[in-house]
């Protein structure tokens, strides 16, 4: 039984086909890169797994359970227990760094003292403890990247979905953060699905690369 599974999924946006009969299986602890040019459907595949989109045809399974099928959403995004880092990070500007991490924990009913412990531990891991009370807008690009990573990981997801998270960073910072992501993945053991259009980045991050063609849409 795979941890994440897309089975023959097709997704259209109006007249445009984003994904056509696409399948993918990811096992626990595995690191997979989705590699392909812009518009080939990489982000759509990620969003289908996250539950942010529903496939027009085909089936999505999370941990062996049906999550969506043929236009029908069965499992809500928050019930899939996945983490995601968005391309534009999507940090909540009205909350502090700690607030960004706390929101999900609070929503899951984690008691306050345990929330504080978990936030502290995670911010320590990503070396942002001193910025706990800062707003995302006060941080540098690399620091914001780490907040997004910490926010996704503090909930202890079984899989982390990353949508071209390093594409906007300079080369040196890109290399450093790749290392940090790998170190965190090895330490925490989550499965990683990493979307990129950069073959070097894909090779550095993943132990399996899935190439997606231009002809898909």
């Amino acid at each position: 039984m795979s941890l994440l599974s897309l089975k023959s999924v097709t997704k259209h946006y109006g007249a445009r086909t984003a994904l056509q009969d696409f399948s993918l299986d990811i096992e626990e602890g595995e690191r997979v890169a989705l590699l392909g040019p812009s518009g080939c459907g990489k982000t759509t595949a990620l969003r289908l797994l996250a539950g942010l989109e529903t496939p027009d045809r085909g089936r999505v399974e999370i941990g062996g359970r049906l999550a969506a099928e043929d236009g029908r959403l069965v499992m809500e995004p928050e019930d899939r227990k996945l983490g995601m880092v968005f391309q534009d990070l999507a940090l909540w500007p009205h909350m502090t760094v700690a607030g960004n991490l706390e929101f999900g924990l609070k929503a899951r009913g984690v008691p306050k003292d345990r929330r504080q412990e978990q936030i502290h531990a995670m911010l320590e891991k990503v070396e942002l403890l001193e910025y706990a009370q800062s707003r995302p807008s006060d941080l540098s690009g690399g620091q914001q990247q780490r907040v997004a990573l910490a926010r996704a990981l503090v909930l202890g997801p079984k899989a982390l979905l990353m949508d071209e998270p390093l594409s906007s960073l300079d080369a040196a910072l890109n290399l450093r953060l790749r290392e940090e992501i790998l170190a965190l993945q090895r330490a925490l053991g989550f499965a990683l699905l990493y979307v990129t259009h950069d073959a070097d980045e894909a090779r550095a991050i993943a132990d399996r690369i899935v190439r997606m063609g231009e002809d898909i849409g």
Binding site: A50, G51, L52, E76, P77, E78, R80, L82, G83, M84, F86, D88, A90, L91, W92, P93, H94, F103, G104, A107, R108, R151, A152, L155
Partner: protein
């Protein structure tokens, strides 16, 4: 100074002179009662405890109006902007309709519903009192909250919600992420409703509710004590200014962030599923109670034989004059509003210059009216005071913000690089404006004119204070007729105003639809 800087600055300076000089003249008049410098006008008014009670009551009524608008407007905005309910565009238009007509028409509609001898007749003492003012104004101004909040909700970055949806349910995302993100525009809309309610004169006069804006008009119209009228207007100017200081302190960096725009598509936060028909029924029910019933009462009342013929005979001239005044006002608002918007977009005007038109928009109409009279009522300027020019200048002063906002929204759709490419090719500013920006935003400009026209037509506060002899606009005629006219005829006049608002709203919707397609 370069042309691209000089023309927007000139346009703003011209508008500022038209808008601010009357206020300064009013201040001067209030300080020189009987030609001598002193605070006599103020002490006469404010030595009476009644003035303070009136001022406190006015603030309380305006705050309650904002509360009612806010309580109803927020859930309505969420339903219109972040769900998949069908026909949301029509619902939005229906809820916006009351904003496009003088609020006194709604009040009159309600009074026709609660006539003695009907089941609703027991509500008549409530309608003709402070509670009636709050309810009518709350319903009339709720669209301000809906337009600001629904626009902000539809513009909320979807990724921020999606990031929340991965760890929390939709209600928690709404409470924890979506609503905090629109708190500022929502708060701003409440402040604007507060200011507009403070400045309303037509509804309190009709419902016989004593408020401060009427006090200023009474001092002028009944006692012809201009110093006292100006002194009575000043507290309203100060309260509006204070509300705006609060708005500026709220952290909204530029006024363009508040501009209403159309609702956009996108993934809804809530899918209504099987409860869709319940919500739709509830929303149309709310519309019926807040706007449909009073409008329906007017329509039914107006169906008496010869009511429309009599209405046109009695008020046809005023109707046509109002159309002409509104068309002239809207054209000036469009021209200067576009130039100011362009100046703001290209940073040839400082950001604060976007705030002043909003302050004037929220300023009570009678206050501006008293200022206009203070400035222009002298023999050498009778060519303004004795002609429609005084009213048209007032409309320009009060409604420039609408032309500016819609133009800003349109200009934001045009990539800056298009004009820049022309500039590096050596094309002058005026030619760039005519050849590139104006053709690309022409639908937006039409929308700006329509919005400005609708607001100029609905204006009551200014129109009741300043109009040339023999040139009364529709609101002034309507008030005269309300005192002694036949209800069927008054209802027919109201229905004619309503029909015009509907036609222009439809034209606006078609223009915006074309712009977005």
């Amino acid at each position: 100074m370069k042309t691209r800087t000089a023309i927007p600055r000139g346009a703003f300076a011209l508008w500022a002179a038209v808008a601010v000089m009357p206020l300064l003249a009013m201040l001067w008049k209030s300080l020189t009662p009987g030609g001598k410098l002193g605070l006599g006008a103020y002490s006469t008014i404010f030595s009476e405890p009644r003035a303070w009670t009136l001022l406190g009551g006015t603030i309380l009524l305006a705050a309650l109006t904002a509360l009612i608008s806010g309580l109803l407007g927020l859930p309505l905005s969420v339903l219109l902007a972040r769900t998949d309910l069908p026909g949301r565009g029509i619902l939005l238009a229906a809820f916006v309709l009351p904003l496009l007509m003088p609020p006194v028409i709604l009040a009159y509609g309600w009074s026709e519903l609660v006539v003695y001898g009907t089941v609703l007749g027991v509500a008549r003492p409530i309608l003709f009192g402070p509670a009636g003012f709050v309810l009518v104004m709350g319903m009339a101004l709720m669209p301000v909250v809906v337009l600001f909040t629904a626009t902000a909700l539809s513009k909320t970055e979807r990724r921020l919600e999606e990031a929340g949806l991965l760890c929390a349910g939709r209600w928690k995302v709404l409470r924890g992420i979506t609503l905090p993100l629109v708190l500022r525009p929502y708060g701003a809309s409440l402040l604007l409703v507060f200011c507009l309610a403070i400045g309303e004169a037509g509804v309190p006069i009709f419902l016989r509710v004593p408020v401060f804006s009427v006090e200023s008009m009474t001092q002028f119209a009944a006692f012809y004590d201009f110093g006292a009228a100006a002194a009575a207007a000043l507290p309203l100017l100060i309260i509006t200014g204070a509300a705006f200081a609060g708005l500026a302190a709220s952290g909204i960096r530029e006024v363009g962030a508040l501009k209403p725009a159309s609702l956009t598509g996108g993934e809804p936060l809530f899918r209504m599923g099987s409860s869709r028909s319940w919500f739709l029924g509830g929303l149309w029910g709310l519309w019926l109670v807040t706007a449909g019933l009073p409008m329906g009462a007017l329509l039914v009342q107006s169906l008496e034989p010869s009511a429309y013929k009599e209405a046109l005979a009695l008020a046809g001239g005023s109707y046509l004059r109002s159309l002409a005044y509104a068309a002239m006002g809207a054209t000036l608002v469009l021209v200067l509003g576009f130039l100011v918007a362009h100046g703001l977009a290209w940073r040839s005007l400082p950001r604060w210059s976007g705030w002043l038109p909003l302050l004037l928009f929220a300023l009570p109409g009678p206050v501006l009216g008293v200022g206009l009279i203070a400035l222009w009522n002298r023999p050498s300027t009778s060519w303004v005071y004795g002609t429609p020019a005084i009213l048209v200048l007032g409309l320009l002063a009060q409604y420039l913000v609408l032309g500016m906002w819609v133009s800003q929204a349109s200009l934001a759709q045009v990539p800056r690089s298009l004009e820049e490419a022309a500039a590096v090719s050596g094309i002058r500013w005026g030619v760039r404006l005519r050849g590139i920006s104006l053709p690309l935003v022409r639908r937006g400009l039409l929308a700006a004119w329509l919005v400005a026209f609708l607001f100029c037509m609905r204006d009551t506060g200014l129109a009741m204070v300043v109009y040339p002899p023999g040139g009364d606009p529709l609101p002034a005629r309507l008030f005269t007729l309300m005192a002694n006219g036949r209800p069927a005829v008054i209802s027919a006049i109201c229905v004619l105003v309503l029909a015009l608002s509907l036609i222009f709203l439809a034209a606006l919707a078609m223009t915006l639809k074309g712009r977005h397609s």
